[in-house]
Amino acid sequence: MIPLIGVVSVRRWPRSRSFRLWVPLFLLWLLMLPLMLLLLPVLFIVCLISQVNPFQAIATIWGILAGFRDTHIEIDNGEALVLVRIL
């Protein structure tokens, strides 16, 4: 399953001013779907030229997208905390 939502959170110390941004990735995928369909023949041609199985290429790209789910990156330098989560 590909990630559907991304969360970017920034918090500054000591004022505790923070913002949290929810990125609806599912909307991004929906918007990109027509573009992907248009690019599909190009991908097939590139794969045929480079002697790569196009279905394997699609499966790998899908696997990488799906693999991003549950990624968690948190960086705190004492003044600010940045958190990126992909759900």
Partner: protein, 153 residues
């Protein structure tokens, strides 16, 4: 088991341990429980790693302008699997070039040998991986202590 979990949660609510430490303790508790009562016959399969964790803790004492830096990264194993599968997309000609370049640099490695079976074995072995690095840097006004921890959970 539930009692231990409750104790950890109590310590967390009392502020005796941080959320990160509580998470680590609960994971360790789950792992030990999995090892005691294997579900699929083998303890290794019961506690299959799902994430690669990288924790960096630096007190930055050498630089008074900056506070302590903490980095907490969790990478799903699924992403590592997909990343290794990318080697299957390298065109044969390019793969030969890469193999040749690796041999010239004294790395006798053949990219075509990376198969899904090998990959699963590699990821299973990663389960036992733990890297702890403690560094003391003499920098500026004081010592900078950096602690790096890489492990699977």
């Amino acid at each position: 088991m539930k009692e231990h979990r409750r104790q950890i949660l109590d310590m967390l609510s009392q502020g005796k341990i941080s959320a990160d430490e509580a998470e680590r303790l609960i994971t360790a508790l789950d792992k030990s429980n999995g090892a005691d009562s294997p579900v699929n016959g083998s303890p290794a399969s019961a506690a299959k790693a799902k994430y690669l964790r990288v924790l960096v803790d630096s007190d930055n004492a050498g630089d008074p302008r900056q506070g302590p830096v903490k980095v907490n990264i969790r990478v799903p194993m699924q992403l590592l699997r997909a990343g290794v599968r990318l080697t299957g997309l390298i065109p044969p000609q390019a793969r030969d070039h890469v193999n040749q370049a690796l041999h010239e640099r004294g790395i006798p490695f053949d990219l075509s040998q990376i198969k899904p079976d090998n990959l699963e074995e590699l990821i299973d072995k990663l389960n036992e991986l733990t890297i702890d690095v403690d560094v003391n840097n003499r920098k500026g006004h004081g010592d900078e202590k950096v602690k790096v921890r890489v492990f699977c959970e």
